[in-house]
């Protein structure tokens, strides 16, 4: 589904990714771990098309298409979702209206008709309930006044409604208490399917207890230096990055 070959990415004058290779097949869950500054968020930003991240070499193919030729909203239409590490607050824009606009924009991209207001509301309420986000929060402005955990759960509600093919979750587990972690993990697991894929970026092993990965990669100094199974994450916890990478 996703094929990254020899990816080099520059931010400003600094090269962050230095020849990263990664293959993700449909149905798989991949976890990327690594020390701070290794390039994990840079990878997520590059895949989603964030401005300021310049690809100097390499290629990224998503479902047969050259991802680098697509704008961020087109990549979303193709089925890519980024769960932000720091979800931004957008005063004056309600969660409900924002998500409905996003869903319908993606549907139009795929040549489908807009979802009517009634059906959308039903869908949204159901997904919010699954993720234990109170319905009245949906009327509020996007992430405004939300706690860290609520913001992350809001990311999961959006993911649930938008139903992406590839979800890239950038440290979705950071700042979550045990209960929130379990809820968020439940949300992530409900979108697992043979046709979809997940790329989890995380520092900590404990998310991987709940969302069990097929592959664990260690990203250090701009490259994937080691790949293993979920056991690698446990080894990492024991020995630290220096002992494992």
């Amino acid at each position: 589904m996703l094929s990254i070959k020899d990816l080099h990415v520059k931010v400003g004058d600094t090269e962050i990714l230095k020849g990263l290779n990664l293959e993700i097949k449909a149905g798989e869950v991949h976890a990327i771990m690594g020390p701070n500054g290794a390039g994990k968020s840079t990878l997520a930003a590059t895949l989603s098309g964030k401005p300021g991240y310049v690809v100097t070499a390499g290629e990224i193919t998503f479902q047969g298409k050259n991802l680098l030729e697509l704008d961020p909203h087109e990549r979303a239409g193709e089925g890519i979702f980024l769960g932000f590490q720091y979800p931004v607050e957008i005063p004056g824009v309600s969660n409900m209206n924002f998500l409905r606009t996003a869903l319908n924009a993606q549907r139009r991209y795929k040549g489908e008709k807009d979802l009517d207001a009634g059906s959308f509301l039903k869908l949204l309420k159901a997904k919010a309930a699954e993720l234990e986000l109170p319905a009245d929060m949906l009327k509020r402005a996007v992430n405004v006044g939300f706690s860290g955990g609520e913001k992350k759960r809001n990311e999961m509600v959006q993911m649930s409604v938008l139903d992406p093919v590839l979800a890239i979750l950038d440290e979705t587990d950071s700042g979550l208490d045990i209960d929130a972690l379990k809820t968020v993990s439940k949300g992530i697991n409900t979108v697992r399917s043979p046709e979809k894929a997940l790329l989890l970026i995380t520092h900590y092993q404990r998310l991987l207890d709940y969302v069990v990965p097929d592959h664990v990669h260690i990203l250090a100094d701009g490259k994937i230096v080691r790949t293993g199974t979920k056991e690698l994450a446990l080894e990492l916890e024991e020995k630290g990055y220096a002992g494992v990478a």
Binding site: S48, G49, K50, P51, D71, P72, H73, R75, A76, G77, F81, L82, F84, P87, V88, I90, P91, G92, V93, F98, L99, T101, A102, L103, A105, Q106, Y109, A141, V142, Q158, L162
Partner: protein
């Protein structure tokens, strides 16, 4: 570059058939004041060329106006339709009980800024307008007024409107200026309102001139213990100057000035406010938001003046602006002159850009860059729209903003 001599307007007054002593004096005062120029602080950012380089003749009512040619009403309120300064009775609705058309007293009250030579020209050369009297204790939902501007490029309309709110009365009034009937060169409009004790006037303005009319609109309120709200939307004007002034002539007066101005390519929009607190225990709020796109220029000059005896004054002013593109310009100048010492006066002005992170967040969810920009601009201006009491006008203003965004 030829600057006209205001004496050239003397002939116009003589031949108008409406010469009075008051008008003669007003024109003499205007000539004494002389035309404004860009070196005067109040006029620094305004594009004055259209009105200082040619002498305009009086606009004539030429076109035959048919009901089907005029825009639909914005609200469910009764509507008066004017062609220039003349009321078109046949296509106007009857006024509700408690509101009457009256004879206007054409005088300049102390609340008007003597800096504005165009106010004196207006008084000297006015050919008509609206004069309303709202009876004591009358509570009226609202009245809509449509001014159809008819004229040619070398013609000016000096429109003079007055509203008097008697004690305890309430009225909402929406003024729409529509310049698409003709090619009028200059609208010099003066709206003078007096709000007596316990009365409330909510004054809405939808200010646009897609046909290119140069707009000078002055809203001036004398508050004798009453409450005045001024809600305005200013957009699609090549050149417009909207001045809003009020004077708290009696204690316990209140004012809310709330508006948005949207400047597009090549457009110059000026909003000038003047809050004069001369009596104690009065409260005013100024709340403005500006958006300016490529090549446009918006200016806000907001004055608050609190006299020595105006103790316990509360006067706040806020103007926030967003520049959408490089090459767009926003000038914001708050000016506070506070001579009383027991007051609460806060002010804040900002000029910034749309939040890039917010834009990317929307785009990552599938929303196109153009639509994302529109969403954030609408969200930014929503606070102004939210302050508007009449829901029909809220909807109308929101639609105008959305339309403007999709065209910008």
């Amino acid at each position: 570059m030829r600057m006209i001599n205001l004496n050239e307007y003397k002939n116009q007054l003589s031949h108008s058939g409406a010469k009075t002593l008051a008008k003669e004096k007003a024109l003499a005062d205007a000539i004494n004041m002389g035309l404004p120029h860009a070196r005067m602080e109040n006029w620094r950012y305004t594009n004055l060329k259209p009105v200082t380089e040619q002498c305009f003749t009086a606009a004539a009512n030429r076109l035959k106006v048919d009901e089907k040619d005029i825009p639909e009403k914005t609200t469910s309120w009764p509507r008066l339709v004017f062609q220039n300064g003349t009321l078109l009775e046949k296509i106007s609705d009857a006024l509700p009980h408690g509101v009457t058309l009256t004879t206007r007293q054409d005088t300049i009250t102390h609340s008007q800024d003597p800096d504005s030579v165009f106010e004196y020209l207006n008084l000297a050369l006015t050919s008509g307008g609206l004069a309303l009297e709202v009876s004591a204790e009358a509570e009226i939902d609202g009245v809509e007024v449509l001014f159809l501007l008819d004229g040619q490029k070398n013609e000016a309309l000096h429109l003079r409107n007055t509203v008097h709110m008697a004690k305890g009365s309430e009225l909402s009034i929406l003024l729409n200026y529509h310049d698409q009937l003709g090619q009028l060169g200059w609208l010099n409009a003066s709206n003078n309102v007096t709000v007596e004790d316990g009365a409330k006037l909510i004054h809405y303005s939808n200010i646009k001139a897609p046909n290119g009319c140069f707009l000078n609109i002055r809203d001036t309120a004398t508050l004798n213990g009453g409450r005045y709200e001024n809600h305005s939307l200013l957009l699609e004007c090549p050149s417009a100057r909207h001045e809003i002034s009020f004077t708290t002539s009696e204690e316990n007066s209140e004012a809310l000035l709330n508006g948005a101005f949207l400047g597009g390519e090549g457009e110059t929009l000026d909003t000038i406010t003047n809050a004069k607190h001369i009596k104690p225990n009065c409260h005013s709020e100024q709340f403005f938001k500006g958006i300016v796109a490529l090549g446009g220029k918006v200016t806000f000059q907001g004055k608050v003046f609190v006299e020595k005896d105006a103790q316990k004054t509360i006067a706040n002013q806020s103007c926030k602006n967003i520049i959408l593109d490089q090459g767009a310009e926003a000038n914001v100048k708050p000016e506070l002159l506070i001579y009383a010492d027991d007051v609460k006066c806060a002010h804040g002005t900002t000029v910034g850009e749309l939040d890039e992170n917010a834009l990317f967040y929307l785009e990552q969810r599938g929303i196109s860059p153009v639509e994302a920009r529109g969403i954030l601009v609408n969200a930014f201006l929503e606070e102004v729209v939210d302050n508007i009491p009449a829901s029909e006008i809220q909807i109308s203003f929101r639609d105008e903003i959305t339309r403007w965004m999709s065209n910008s």
